[in-house]
């Protein structure tokens, strides 16, 4: 929310890309709620604009991962054979490398920029969706209602589109929400390592890296963006947990009712 409204909520919207050398490293006060940074910019305003970038990265990366991972998981889960095995083995290989490490390699190859960060994150996150969808599809195939609908003469397309997909929607949504948090963390780590979008983009990870040389005096400079990351990621994680609880009980009750 605050990310969308950043230009309105920000107290010093111009500060994002302008320099105010006279107001360098001011402590938090009425004029600058969270103090100023090394360029004299308002930390609070830069945070809000940073939120837009962060959310943008998360949404596009998770969205792209969904588009790649869900169909692969569905196909691999629905059909049994060497092709399914191959698909899952490929995603296993991606999962076999820690995401940050792989993202570092990709981002380094492509050079630090916003689209490249998103590409690196999508390329490393899609296997999680493939895994979840695959596992859920396989479980669902053993459910009596899927087998019986197949016995009723329903085609594989009908079964997948009308029965399987709606029933695995909730784990996908939950995964997506948690994936947002995870992706944002990784993006921040890339930014911190200097692989994120180049300055003067107010990316949170880079901001923390910049702030280190001014510690321990300008403590607010490092604290604020870290807290922002923390709150955002926690927000998505809690949203995921909450969604799990909201989306699940109805199903659980219907299955235990008998």
């Amino acid at each position: 929310m605050s990310a969308v409204l950043a230009p309105v909520l920000a107290t010093h919207p111009d500060d994002v890309f302008e320099l105010h050398p006279a107001e360098r490293l001011r402590a938090p006060g009425p004029a600058h709620w969270l103090g100023t940074d090394r360029m004299g910019a308002d930390v609070y305003s830069r945070l809000l604009f940073g939120a837009r970038i962060t959310i943008l990265i998360g949404v596009i990366a998770v969205g792209a991962s969904l588009l790649v991972g869900v169909p692969i998981g569905l196909v691999a889960g629905y059909y049994h054979g060497w092709f399914s095995d191959l698909l899952m083995r490929v995603s296993d290989v991606f999962l076999a490398v820690p995401q940050v490490v792989l993202a570092i390699a990709i981002a380094q190859t492509l050079g630090p920029s916003l689209p490249n960060v998103i590409l690196a994150l999508s390329a490393t996150y899609w296997p999680w969706f493939a895994r979840v969808v695959y596992a859920e599809t396989r479980t669902l195939q053993k459910e009596v209602f899927v087998e019986s609908t197949a016995a009723l003469g329903a085609s594989p397309w009908r079964l997948t589109a009308l029965h399987v997909l709606p029933n695995i929607a909730s784990p996908i949504i939950v995964r997506a929400s948690i994936g947002m948090g995870f992706t944002i963390l990784t993006a921040a780590a890339l930014g911190f390592l200097g692989l994120g979008p180049p300055p003067p983009t107010p990316e949170w990870g880079r901001t923390i890296a910049e702030s280190r040389e001014f510690l321990p005096d300008a403590w607010w400079y490092a604290t604020a963006p870290g807290l922002a990351i923390f709150l955002t990621v926690m927000g998505f994680n809690l949203l995921g947990d909450g969604l799990r609880d909201v989306l699940d009980p109805r199903l659980r009750r219907s299955r235990t009712a008998r």
């Binding site: 009596v144 209602f145 019986s148 009723l152 003469g153 085609s155 299955r255 008998r258």
Partner: protein
């Protein structure tokens, strides 16, 4: 049952094996779940398929239904071989041949309203207008004894008994000729079981259905079926009129099985129960007669020669000494 009429379902030497694989994915053996079964079901009758867990009766049902493909042998339904059809043609047969699960309520998609679940089979198999479909669904719904008000509910809003009725209605909208009932009363209390059995009977009459009734409960089978087939380790050991078999079982396994069923209000049957041991693993089927390892009558010949089903005393029995 008329002897002159053609059988609705005819199974000839049906085999369904499942491969057993070791950790390396190499095949190390076969589970011989169904191992050469032949039987026929005539229109309008109820054939009971009885046996203990692992005897292959459910595998047999699912293979006939097309959920598993046969390893070998023929399945002829209404005069047509259906065991080896391409997927698309096989799906079309589902309109005439249907399957009811042990817990029919579980065959309803939890996210679909009852009305959608009931319309679905007609959408798949019939080209009907919406109004025609609604008429058809309404008729079936009243036949299974459910009010129209239930159409807008989700499965979890129904009781277990109501779910069962909806699931039956869903199958009946296709007006199938034959329904395979797989352990339809297992896990039910006697009073509920009684209502379910009554419902099956009424529906059989109303829709001219032919049933294959798979069950481990001999009392239920005795009440429901005119003919029964007794299975042991993937083969039929005795097949014939229910009354005759219950009166005087000829196969030693059938005898033990019947002796194990408690009969209320008499001498305790377990006092005289003599069968020892447990059925062998279907991976390691004994040579010759499969029952010989537990059979009180076993002789040397039983280990060498597998007895074929033969006509004895008005039924078919697979035993050298029947």
């Amino acid at each position: 049952m008329s002897v002159t009429a053609a059988p609705l379902l005819e199974i000839v030497d049906l085999v369904r094996h499942f491969p057993v694989r070791n950790a390396f994915g190499r095949r190390t053996g076969w589970i011989r779940a169904v191992d050469g079964v032949s039987l026929a079901v005539w229109p309008g009758e109820t054939l009971g398929l009885v046996g203990e867990s692992g005897c292959g009766k459910s595998t047999l049902g699912k293979t006939v239904m097309g959920i598993y493909t046969p390893t070998a042998g023929d399945i002829r339904f209404a005069g047509r071989e259906i065991g080896h059809l391409p997927a698309r043609e096989r799906r079309a047969v589902a309109g005439d041949l249907q399957y009811v699960y042990q817990d029919p309520g579980a065959s309803l998609d939890p996210r679909w309203k009852v009305v959608h679940s009931l319309h679905e089979p007609l959408k798949i198999h019939a080209r009907l207008s919406r109004a025609e479909r609604e008429r058809e669904v309404g008729a079936i719904l009243s036949a299974v004894g459910l009010p129209d008000a239930h159409l807008d509910l989700y499965p979890h809003e129904l009781s277990g008994g109501q779910q069962r009725r909806v699931a039956l209605a869903r199958i009946l909208t296709l007006r199938p000729r034959m329904v395979i009932l797989d352990e339809p009363t297992s896990g039910l209390d006697v009073s509920v079981q009684a209502s379910v059995l009554k419902l099956f009977r009424n529906l059989q009459e109303a829709f001219a259905l032919t049933y294959v009734f798979i069950s481990h409960d001999l009392a239920v089978v005795r009440a429901m079926c005119a003919r029964i087939a007794v299975m042991y380790l993937g083969t039929i050991v005795e097949l014939g009129e229910t009354a005759a078999i219950f009166e005087q079982p000829r196969h030693p396994y059938t005898r033990s099985l019947l002796a194990a069923v408690p009969r209320i209000g008499g001498r305790r049957v377990t006092l005289d129960f003599a069968l020892e041991g447990e059925p062998p693993n279907p991976r390691d089927v004994p040579s010759g007669c499969r029952f010989r390892t537990r059979c009180p009558l076993a002789q040397d010949v039983c280990a060498v020669e597998e007895p074929r089903l033969r006509e004895v005393d008005g039924r078919r029995v697979a035993c050298h000494f029947a």
